[in-house]
């Protein structure tokens, strides 16, 4: 069933969402993307100032 969530309701749950995410972070290593990404996409993200740990490793030439 489709729900309609107002922007106000969305904002109202953000503090609780952040608190719960921090609890997850306490049991996990620092977040680091492990999935490979195409070089062109990685370069575009780097130019936007995206942190390296969110960009992840380069995809190998064979696509793996």
């Amino acid at each position: 069933m489709k729900r309609t969530i107002t922007a106000e309701a969305w904002r109202a749950q953000r503090a609780e969402a952040a608190r719960r995410s921090e609890a997850v972070d306490r049991i996990m290593p620092s977040y680091e993307r492990t999935r490979p990404r195409d070089a062109a996409e990685a370069d575009a993200l780097r130019r936007q100032g995206i942190a390296e740990e969110l960009i992840g490793p380069p995809r190998a030439p064979d696509g793996s």
Binding site: K2, R3, T4, I5, T6, A7, E8, W10, Q13, E16, A17, R20, S21, A23, V24, D25, R26, I27, M28, P29, Y31, E32, R33, T34, R35, D38, A40, E41, A44, L45, Q48, G49, I50
Partner: protein
Amino acid sequence: MPSVPEAYAVLEALGFRRSGRIWLLDDPRIVFEAPGSFPDRADESDEIETPQGRKLAMLKVEDMALWRLREAVFWGVRDAIQQTLWLLEAPLLDRARLEQRARTEHLDSPLRILEGAATAQATAGVPFTDDALRELVTAMTRSYPFPT
């Protein structure tokens, strides 16, 4: 997001430029990924209503969580574990729907194993080690009924 010329034209008029499956805006710096037009057959969306009354479709958080769980189970992606746990903690998550969808997708056992392990680590007050995460992913993968 619909992958149609009209949608591209609106984004380009707003100053976005496309690089493969991502769209970029320089000021303010915004990046978003548009991997496809339509959700998977069994996925559903909710609507977010803006203060101006416009409605935006958003994949239901239960379906987002199950996609991340699949990445962990099928491809052993470690960061997908963390993303799954973040999504499972979303206040807007519909727990009954999540469990029903997980059963339908044969992901109920991996989900149970993941949540059990996360609860144990939280109770102990210690983070997962890399070895523990590898063992967790292996256990989740083994619990999935891959066709033989």
